[in-house]
């Protein structure tokens, strides 16, 4: 049995016929071939699969594609539609990554944080990223990247 599912992904309407048990992350990666969203665990521990669903960061391995019916999804690829996003620039500049596998999820979670709290404290950054695991960086440069991104975004807004 297959079902039709449609949603808006990175601003474009998409429609596919899929198995009802298909996870949203598999829909994004396999059906849409948006491979920036990663799978790092099967227990919603690591956050590598984070995407924005109606503006809120969710772990796309914990919901079915059919549950996203009619919803608006933004993936890491969608963030840079108008050029590199300041958060992306900040992660490069402050070396908030090594192997790059957790990075898209880290950036999506940071995006959600900075959308609601443009000038977070270090404590608030740690809290916002508590659902994302990184094995390479020790998180230090990730915290630095988010602080720097917040500065870049505030400067950009003032312009």
């Amino acid at each position: 049995m297959k079902v039709k599912v449609s949603m808006v992904v990175n601003g474009e309407k998409v429609e596919r016929v899929v198995q009802p048990r298909m996870l949203l992350v598999d829909f994004i990666r396999r059906e849409l071939r948006l491979t920036g969203t990663h799978v790092g665990c099967d227990t919603s521990s690591c956050g590598a699969c984070a995407v924005l669903l109606n503006g809120r960061a969710v772990k796309s391995c914990t919901i079915l594609a059919v549950q996203a019916e009619g919803k608006e999804i933004v993936t890491i690829e969608g963030l840079s539609k108008g050029g590199m996003h300041p958060i992306q620039k900040a992660f490069v500049e402050k070396q908030g990554l090594q192997c790059g596998y957790c990075t898209p999820g880290m950036i999506i979670s940071s995006y959600q944080l900075l959308s609601s709290n443009p000038n977070p404290s270090e404590e608030e950054i740690r809290k916002a990223l508590s659902g994302n695991l990184c094995r390479c960086t020790g998180y230090k440069t990730i915290i630095d990247s988010v602080k720097y991104a917040s500065k870049l975004m505030r400067t950009e807004k003032r312009k």
């Binding site: 790092g40 227990t43 990554l97 090594q98 790059g100 695991l133 960086t137 230090k140 915290i143």
Partner: protein, 685 residues
């Protein structure tokens, strides 16, 4: 080749830019049109006889065994055969027994449910010390002890102070964020492998050997690799099954590990124990050291298992000048997944053992942590009785103490100090290729970057050596077709060896350019011609470096000890990229901290792994990140670019200093990693 075409279309951006844009190309990002998905059916028992197997691909059809390749590979023959798919009996939870392939991974999982396997469970051997005298887990052996080596000369000693302790580092799961994975594509004549790997050469060797293929038939290409920490250097049964399934179906076959499979069936690290005994004078000078090392090798003699005991033994004296050393080094089979390398691979274990004894001696004699270490160092070059070379440990320690502001730090209650030596794995060398064509310089390395930013240092060296702007230099992932011979990325070796190979390749190009263009050619001239040089760089002698860590611990709101600061003072030679080096040190320090605080591959007495997620495996979260300070002692090495090893230093130096800081705070004595919550619950709550 699909991948290469795609790479050509995209202007090669630096890896970090591709990664933040979500444009990394990891192995699971490969989609071939007619691709099949492989699912492995695994043993639910730690030890059992197999009575019956009915499945799509079984060990009856694919009768092949694993060979030892990669870091710690050995040609030593043992009587134990590691089958790709088990046929007669299983020896660990997660061991591959059968496999299915399907058009889609969901369907493959359904098919895996239908595979029928009947087992007769047996009592497993789990505890490594009990394994010594337990019934052998392999029927054709008479003991679980399969390595029993002596190093150095036994001695009698009557010293002022004799201290003994049993110490241990429990098993840890590597847990890179990207699990293991492979796509195998046989086109009727040749097999192309795309992998998440530290070494395309080890994979090629392992696959050729298991499936009896000739080297000309196999090509291995590295995809972007999302961390590894030792787990992706060697070869695993799943890779052989994927390659076999592709040859059988003449279709591309993808296998991607799930996290649970990673926890169960990817080689664990550490898993080493030692009965240590030191003989010292009243002034703190250690005159003799004995160690009885036991390595929990798991079920098969692959990975680092056969090599680890004597490797740990070799460096058991750390940076100290101890004149009498005697080591017994053993490895035992247990019903667990085979042991493999994990960032540091033997070095952190040896450092933990010797540093714990130094701290014990410091307590016993009431000596200061720095003083007790200093008195045991040698001024100038020192070669240990087992052959380990250490260069001027005394003056390094003095420099470190000054730079770290030791005298003010040591007054803190939760204070820990460690001193260690890093032995980079230089054998047998490493390769690089530099090619100039169409105005672009391309660089390939024999080893495979998996998060250490090889592209950054490789491009920088080329730019400096050839005086070509960075944007004209493209870094390519490793590929057995691009360089004939190479080794792999592990053992803090890439910047040292591949870096040196790049320098030599560039210098050869300069020589040829001079002959062609005269002595004063410019970058533009160089880029308008074609050059192509491959170099295999073979180092001579040892290139060990020293390091010191200071770790501070404080009491948190709930009354537990927590690590507040990690300070590193490391000899890193000439730094190729300072930011990248700092980032490596901090990331590694966090892994070292994980070993002390939480990381553990815990099995119960039935040989069942009792953890089911990456969180339960103890990988640290962002909340655990302390403050860091990284200071480099930048004495150039004799390499052409002056580099030294670095990647593993923090996993060697941080655990002994961190456990010391916590134990001082708690007023206890700790003998193994990881600690429990009860261990770090401070008196008075």
């Amino acid at each position: 080749m699909l991948i290469e075409e795609e790479r050509k279309l995209e202007k090669p951006l630096p890896a970090s830019v591709r990664f933040v844009l979500g444009r990394g190309k990891y192995v699971d990002d490969i989609f071939f049109d007619n691709m099949l998905y492989l699912k492995i059916v695994r043993s639910p028992y730690a030890r059992a006889k197999i009575l019956k197997v009915n499945g799509e691909i079984t060990g009856r059809e694919l009768s092949a065994s694993m060979t030892s390749v990669g870091e710690g590979a050995t040609e030593r023959k043992t009587r134990v055969n590691y089958p790709v798919l088990a046929t007669d009996y299983v020896s660990y939870v997660g061991q591959p027994v059968a496999a299915v392939i399907a058009e889609d991974i969901y369907e493959a999982e359904d098919k895996a449910e239908e595979v029928e396997i009947e087992y007769e469970p047996l009592k497993p051997v789990v505890d490594p010390y009990k394994a010594i005298d337990s019934e052998p887990i392999h029927p054709n052996t008479n003991s679980n002890v399969f390595v029993d080596t002596k190093l150095g000369k036994d001695f009698d000693e009557s010293a002022d102070v004799v201290l003994e302790e049993r110490l241990g580092c429990e098993r840890i799961i590597p847990n890179p964020l990207e699990p293991r994975g492979i796509v195998a594509h046989y086109d009727g004549t040749r097999l192309t492998i795309y992998g998440s790997t530290q070494s395309v050469y080890s994979w090629k060797e392992g696959i050729c050997s298991s499936l009896k293929l000739s080297p000309e038939q196999v090509r291995v290409i590295q995809m972007d690799t999302g961390g590894a920490f030792g787990s992706k250097g060697g070869i695993y049964p799943e890779y052989i099954v994927a390659a076999y399934a592709s040859i059988k179906t003449k279709r591309p076959v993808k296998w991607i590990e799930t996290r649970l499979e990673h926890l169960q069936a990817t080689a664990h690290g550490r898993g080493a124990y030692a009965d240590m005994k030191i003989y010292a004078r009243r002034d703190g000078r250690i005159v003799g050291l004995k160690a009885d090392i036991l390595v929990d090798s798991g079920a098969y003699p692959v990975g680092v298992a056969p090599w680890a005991p004597s490797w740990i033994g070799y460096q058991i004296t750390g940076p100290y000048a101890i004149e009498k050393v005697y080591v017994r080094a053993r490895a035992v089979y247990t019903n667990k997944v085979p042991l493999g390398p994990y960032r540091g691979a033997g070095r952190p274990e040896a450092a933990f053992f010797v540093e714990r004894m130094i701290d014990m001696l410091s307590d016993k004699l009431g000596k200061d942590a720095l003083e007790i270490r200093k008195i045991n160092t040698h001024e100038g070059k020192w070669k240990s009785p087992l052959g380990l070379e250490v260069n001027d440990a005394r003056s390094f320690l003095a420099r470190a103490a000054r730079q770290l502001r030791y005298s003010s730090l040591k007054r803190k209650r939760g204070f820990g100090l460690s001193f260690f030596v890093l032995i980079p794995n230089l054998e047998p060398g490493e390769s690089a290729r530099v090619k100039i064509q169409d105005g672009i310089v391309r660089v390939w390395l024999g080893g495979s970057s998996h998060g250490q930013g090889h592209d950054e240092f490789a491009r920088r060296i080329v730019s400096e050596e050839l005086d070509v702007p960075m944007e004209k230099i493209y870094f390519e992932n490793s590929d057995t077709e691009k360089i004939n011979r190479g080794v792999g990325s592990w053992g803090s070796r890439s910047a040292v060896l591949a870096g040196a190979a790049i320098v030599e390749a560039c210098r050869k190009i300069r020589e040829k350019a001079r002959a062609k263009l005269g002595p004063r050619f410019k970058a533009e001239d160089l880029l308008s011609f074609e050059f192509d040089e491959s170099v295999f760089f073979k180092p001579e002698g040892q290139l060990n470096s020293l390091g010191v860590n200071v770790v501070l611990a404080t009491k948190d709101k709930l009354g537990f000890g927590r690590i507040s600061k990690i300070i590193s003072y490391y000899d890193a030679g000439n730094l190729l990229n300072r930011n990248m080096a700092v980032s490596q040190v901090i990331g590694g320090a966090m892994q070292g901290l994980g070993q002390v605080l939480s990381e553990r591959a815990a099995y119960n007495e039935d040989g069942q792994l009792v953890i089911g997620s990456i969180s339960e495996a103890g990988v640290l979260k962002i909340s655990a990140t302390p403050d860091f300070e990284v200071i480099f002692d930048r004495e150039k090495s004799r390499m052409p670019h002056g580099a030294k090893g670095l990647g593993e230093s923090p996993t060697i130096g941080v655990p002994p200093a961190a456990i010391r800081a916590l134990e001082k705070l708690a007023g206890k004595w700790f003998t193994k990693t990881p600690l429990t919550e009860e261990d770090i619950l401070l008196n008075g709550g």
